[in-house]
């Protein structure tokens, strides 16, 4: 295992220590919980709080989206494990100014259980919490059981839209409504070319044979929907785009936001090679690409692979995505 780590049992502590050091200008650890990272000036009077959280190993998700006009506080879990209920609870308290808190997370079984326990605890303290789960990964469950799908990189749109709405003075219901709209209109799919290794485990948690690719692989190495011979970047890009468009089943051309993320060890160069073909497919079907994000937005430790997310835009979502934001994972400058 060729990795830059100290004791793998404490990797999340090391991550958080380094992270809050690097961004101490606008970020800090919660005084109440070592596994909660927050904006320095959260809670902000009059503003709805935005909370998220999830397992570590997906950096910049989740803590990388804490910052101006996005997320206010985040619960940080162990590698690939939901944060404890207590961490979600403390994150909610750190984000609440009295206007309520929107908890926007990824619909994994553990997160669901822990968030629900946390919400119950917070409500007992008189905090008004509502939640939205991202369910963009179309490979994680068939269309008939969409409610079981997991949230992956598409969550970035949910946090961006929800965070901007809150910054613009939206009520908790307003924020929940746009976050829900962002989640409902986003679909993602991954392709993996190699496994990933949980540092504490020390060996890859699955195998992809040389010359093969795993379509629909999950963000923790969960097996995908099928294993196929590795194809050209253009063919892979077209297959992924088609799969998402199929799931959307649009009846006419749309304004689209594209988010192409590496999964951890994917070279930047390849993302652009892929994007070239993705835009071609969208254009051929007369869709208009209005927003493009390419980089590492939600990763899976050292997995070699990519996720492609498409969001169907309306004017409100488009404006919210373009609203300025400053986090370590995404900075939007007024254009």
């Amino acid at each position: 295992m060729q990795r830059f780590i100290n004791n793998p049992e404490f990797i999340v502590d090391d991550l958080i220590k380094g992270y809050v050091k690097a961004y101490k200008g606008f970020i800090e650890k919660s005084a109440n919980n070592d596994r909660v990272v927050k904006r320095k000036n959260s809670p902000e009077t009059g503003k709805v709080g935005i909370v998220t959280g999830g397992g570590s190993g997906h950096e910049p998700a989740f803590l990388g989206y804490v910052g101006e006009n996005m997320v206010d506080a985040v619960a940080v879990g162990e590698v690939f494990a939901s944060p404890p209920a207590e961490a979600f609870y403390d994150a909610i308290l750190e984000a609440d100014s009295g206007e309520g808190v929107a908890c926007l997370f990824g619909n994994y079984a553990g997160d669901n259980m822990n968030v629900k326990m946390a919400i119950q605890m917070a409500e007992e303290e008189g905090v008004n919490v509502k939640f939205v789960t991202a369910k963009d990964d179309i490979a994680s469950s068939p269309k008939e059981t969409r409610h079981r799908r997991h949230g992956i990189a598409g969550g970035v749109y949910m946090w961006k839209a929800g965070g901007a709405k809150a910054a613009l003075g939206g009520t908790l219901d307003d924020v929940i409504a746009v976050a829900q709209k962002a989640a409902d209109n986003t679909r993602s799919i991954c392709v993996g070319l190699s496994s990933c290794t949980i540092p504490a485990a020390g060996t890859p948690n699955f195998e992809i044979e040389e010359g093969m690719m795993e379509i629909g692989i999950g963000h923790h190495g969960e097996p995908g929907i099928r294993v196929e011979k590795l194809k050209s970047a253009a063919e892979i890009a077209a297959m992924m785009t088609d799969a998402l468009l199929d799931d959307f089943a649009f009846d006419r051309e749309q304004n689209i936001a594209v988010l192409l993320s590496g999964l951890g060890s994917t070279p930047k160069m390849e993302l652009y090679v892929l994007y070239d073909a993705i835009e071609e497919v969208l254009k051929k079907q007369n869709h208009r690409v209005e927003v493009v994000l390419i980089g590492d937005y939600a990763t899976s430790l050292d997995m070699n692979g990519i996720s492609l997310s498409l969001m169907k835009l309306d004017n409100e979502l488009k404006e919210l995505l373009a609203y300025p934001a400053k986090t370590s994972g995404l900075t939007i400058i007024r254009s």
């Binding site: 049992e9 879990g77 590698v79 209920a85 079984a109 822990n114 326990m117 923790h220 969960e222």
Partner: protein
């Protein structure tokens, strides 16, 4: 056949040891259809609880409460809330009891089970720890009602637990990470069911040991 809540702390220790020593095995089982971290998650929580318990002079029900609180506040994942609620049930149902007998143990198991079902809607056949827990506890209940001895109740419980664990191999995962695999989970034993079996096994054999020593 009974033992004191005080003596029962050895049950707590036995469970912790069982989980900690099966760390790599549990992760291996999880790797086949999950993300390979079940042993890491579990042993981390149980190790923390072990440290918390060490040195202090706790009753069994207090020991279970420490495990529960540690899992809920420090572990997260699915196991934090699920086993956190499970051990909370074992603790709550034995809290007021100075002596533990087969009837208290029935209440403990029932409460632990209902606490878990409160938080997940997984049911039998979904390839989870429920597939061990549910038949195991039913077996205990039946044997208890038939006035069987405590060791017999526990023995029968473990026979059904083992059967339940084996059965998860023939199930398609319906919840958790394995659910996206569909039929590809066939042939693989469920990780949560495995840890649940180990917990029940340590629970049963350590109790049997105490009561056999007493008699």
């Amino acid at each position: 056949m009974r033992f004191s809540n005080k003596e029962g702390i050895t049950v707590v220790h036995a469970i912790i040891e069982e989980i900690v020593s099966n760390r790599d095995y549990l992760s291996k089982v999880d790797a086949a259809v999950g993300d390979g971290d079940h042993g890491i998650n579990m042993s981390k929580g149980f190790n923390m609880a072990d440290k918390e318990i060490a040195g202090s002079d706790l009753n069994m029900n207090e020991g279970f409460l420490v495990i529960s609180k540690t899992l809920i506040s420090k572990i997260g994942g699915s196991m934090g809330p699920l086993y956190g609620n499970f051990f909370r049930g074992l603790s709550v149902a034995s809290k007021e009891k100075e002596m533990i007998d087969s009837s208290v143990i029935l209440e403990m198991l029932k409460k632990a089970y209902s606490n878990i079902t409160l938080i997940t809607d997984a049911s039998e056949g979904d390839k989870t720890l429920i597939d061990v827990l549910s038949p195991a506890i039913t077996a205990y209940k039946i044997n208890y009602k038939n006035d069987h001895s405590l060791p017999d109740c526990l023995n029968e419980m473990m026979a059904k637990a083992k059967e339940g664990l084996e059965n998860t191999k023939n199930m398609t995962a319906k919840v958790g990470r394995g659910s996206r695999l569909g039929d590809r989970t066939l042939g693989h034993q469920d990780a949560g069911a495995t840890s649940c079996y180990l917990i029940l096994k340590a629970f049963s054999s350590s109790i049997t040991k105490i009561v056999n020593a007493e008699s």
